[in-house]
Amino acid sequence: MPATDIAIVGYAQTPSLRDANPSEVQLLVPTVAAAIEMAGIGRREIGFTCAGSCDYLTGGPFAFVSNLEAAGAWPPISESHVEADGAWAMYEAWMRLQEGDIDTALAFGSGKSSPSNPSEVWAQQLDPYYLAPLAPDPISLAGIQARALLDSGKATERDFAQVVANSRHNAASNPNAQLKDAGASVDALLAEPYLRNPLRKHDCPPISDGAVAVVMARGDRARSLCERPAWIRGFDHRVEAHQPGVRDIRSSSSTALAARKAGYDGGPLDVVELSSTFSPQELILLESLGLAPDGPTKVNPSGGALAGNPIMAVGLVRIVEAAARIIDGSANRALAHATSGPLLQQNLVCLLEGE
């Protein structure tokens, strides 16, 4: 069984930006520094570092190599990199911390979507034989998923719009959010035209640039660095089959499984932060976690991924948003979620608690 005395003791994120002027590594340099500063440790004290990014998002092979410069890799450091959202980088660093020979670790994630056409980049993530040549963009696939959800009778277009309105309202008080509107109304949203019937533009995420970093520590080290650390009580990720036609895209079995494996028992949560990049996915994820959209749990108080979607950082941002609420005392138990692949194919759950 993994140890449960590892905690987030420092974090930082850039605002989610439509087109950031700094390069990806320039976004990371101050972000990593700020997370380390919040943890109150020296850079050289960090026992292990793991980064998450995507070459193809940045625009070329080995793009991740320059991100190493933000980690302060001289003298040499113990370091690894995942071609995935920073949430998976955090998972690897959390795993490495379990071994007891080190007591702090750093993880970060970064990506700039603005230089590319994300619709074209992410079509290249699909099965190269049966799907990629058709170039089904993420919005089209999400449109199919939304239709399947509507046909199942589990949701209506009004429910989608309500998710968006909630996101805009919540984002209004989040300085890092990109899309915010305290006055967003469901009726006004429903009056908008379709982009991919039954999805409207606002049901889709913005194009975003951003970076995020966390510092974790173990046991008493965590207590000494942070008054109220965000303890990681469970951490798991699971993947489903790839082809959208061979799995039930109206539900997220891998989210439910990851939550169970992370030790989530269905008990009360103060906050849940979900990487639902399309509004119907928020409903799918809530159902898979056994949560109601209007229940006692605050859903995406940051505004979630609909309010800012820096791909490769957005999942770790969810964990940071949940951890921030534990650390500031406004929540005691929170669940954060990250996703990868088309239509929620792969999902990660991190369960956080105060002490």
Binding site: D19, N21, P22, S23, V25, Q26, V29, P30, V32, A33, R43, Y56, T58, G59, G60, A63, S66, E69, A70, G72, W74, K112, S114, P115, S116, N117, E120, V121, Q124, P128, Y129, A132, P133
Partner: protein, 180 residues
């Protein structure tokens, strides 16, 4: 199409992805300088090392550098290392003849500029330590269009090559820690 079994088992897919990114502020100023025959670097406020071009931060101290830290360096320097590359053919490759790929440490800089052509000496006589000076392209031919935030194509749209000056070679100490 010939109906051989093997051809049935191959699929061709031309993948094209295009990226447009604003040049970062530090590189934008570097590009401005190049068009005026000036080479701009940044001096780290913490360790004093000079990086050409500026990265916008010092990778050793991990502190940001700003416009205030930027300084001009001369267009003369030392070849610190090189390869004579026999080009291999691949999609988009236009090189067909062996070419020089050299690193140059400009005087006053601590970093090197990679991938430079060195002229004024036969390829077989090129050696590390040779002193060189930038041979600027005519003003009307200069372009910084190929520059990117990922470090490709630093000065080659503006500097034709680095020409050996014929001065005595620099002592090993001035380039041995700057191999690439």
């Amino acid at each position: 199409m010939t109906d051989t079994a093997k051809e049935d088992l191959v699929m061709e897919h031309l993948v094209t992805l295009t990226y447009h990114e604003r040049l970062t502020d530090n590189l934008n100023r570097f590009a401005d300088g190049l068009l005026e025959e000036r080479i701009i670097g940044a001096k780290c406020p913490s360790c004093g090392r000079v990086f050409v071009p500026s990265k916008g931060y010092c990778s050793l101290c991990v502190v940001p550098t700003t416009e205030a830290d930027e300084i001009e360096v001369p267009d003369t320097g030392i070849v610190t290392g090189f390869t004579i590359v026999t080009p291999v053919a691949y999609y988009g490759q236009t090189k067909t003849e062996p070419f020089v790929y050299a690193s140059v440490r400009l005087d006053g800089a601590d970093s090197t500029i990679g991938g430079q052509d060195v002229t004024g000496v036969p390829q077989s006589e090129l050696r590390a330590g040779m002193r060189v000076k930038a041979k600027w392209k005519p003003r009307e031919e200069r372009s910084v269009d190929g520059m990117t935030n990922r470090g490709w194509s630093g000065v080659d749209g503006v500097v034709e090559s680095f020409e050996v000056t014929g001065e005595p070679d620099a002592p090993l100490d001035e380039y041995k820690d700057h191999l690439f």
